[in-house]
Symmetry: C2
Subunit: 209 residues, 2 copies
């Protein structure tokens, strides 16, 4: 396995077994495949909007000092676009093997709807970050992910603890403590590193009032 040689600040992912600069695999005219940990760069001729066919994607904002904020996670059916601006620069990255289609032909109406939805999500996130305790944030995230994974009692988180933590604005140790605490209280059950079982959704929801 050969590594990319990079000057200056070396992105930790560049040292992992997944060199992060690599071209996506083109399957059909508009279908692209990205692998785990790959930064999603669309062909320059495509509109910078895409729709996820399968897999999971994170939107990431890197800070000067190395911390990173995860803005949102997106799965099957979601529309995603890169927001770049003088003051914010947010990148999309695949967190597992992901298929997507470049969405040049999306209707204005559909786009508008998606933008509004993202706005609502952003507001909910602000509320989560500023008003919730660590237990509540973790519970809220698990409930949200369960819903998005199809509401089955047992599901598998698509992201690592580090991504989990970077999204809810906590440290991974605190995430771990909260998960253990919720498990001890019988509100969840953990299966391996990614598996989560929610025996009674109502009980967990009661945490959030």
């Amino acid at each position: 396995m050969s590594y990319l040689s990079i000057q200056g600040n070396v992105d930790p992912r560049a040292r992992s077994s997944y060199p992060f600069l690599r071209a996506p695999v083109r399957h059909a005219n508009t279908t692209l495949r990205f692998e785990r940990e790959q930064v999603i760069c669309l062909p320059p001729d495509a509109a910078q909007v895409f729709k996820i066919i399968s897999g999971w994607v994170r939107l990431v904002q890197d800070l000067a000092d190395g911390r990173r904020q995860i803005v949102s996670f997106h799965g099957k059916g979601d529309f995603v676009w890169c927001m770049r601006n003088a003051s914010v620069s947010i990148c999309a990255e695949a967190i597992e093997e992901t298929l997507l289609i470049c969405a040049d032909g999306i209707s204005k109406e559909e786009m508008h709807q998606a933008a509004l939805q993202q706005m609502v999500e952003a507001q909910k996130h602000v509320l989560l970050l500023s008003q919730r305790s660590s237990d509540e944030r973790v519970a809220s995230f698990l409930l949200d992910m369960q819903r998005r994974m199809g509401s089955s009692r047992i599901f598998s988180l698509p992201m690592s603890r580090a991504d989990f933590a970077a999204f809810v604005g906590m440290k991974i140790e605190t995430i771990s403590r909260c998960l253990s605490s919720l498990q001890q209280r019988g509100l969840i059950r953990l299966h391996g590193l990614r598996g989560v079982e929610i025996p009674a959704r109502a009980a967990l929801e009661r945490l959030l009032q």
Copy 2:
């Protein structure tokens, strides 16, 4: 002074000297005046979008348990719209005497631009809340307000400490401590309850790296 009589949870503002249910004053066809602490309800026939001519407005999300999150502040020239949805309900309120025009005739392009800007602001807010210490949040807010007030060295905050706190996700005591600390370090100077002086903007910005 007669008070409104309200059953159940009494809004604290209902007990203040500004009863909060009241019609705005109509100046011209489309120009409305709202007073301090007044909830901004637009006439039902108007588009629920407006532009601020003068004054300051806060967007507020009230929680079931009485806490409130301030989503954003808006001043002269800003476009504002109320976002209502199954999962979020955000209201606009004047924090001082405010003139605005209902903006039925705003171009699509202008609206789109404003929406994008709000999206960017929301992301910056998420970053502030999840990655910044209390000192950094206060410094960041002061710098932002200074810029919006015209970048003069001395300016007057349009909002109370309570609103300040509800925006940056802290308690008013902590806000007060941070302001005192920044003043002792020579990074700011306080003038009365609302006045703020930033002797050297660069020094304060250094706090944020």
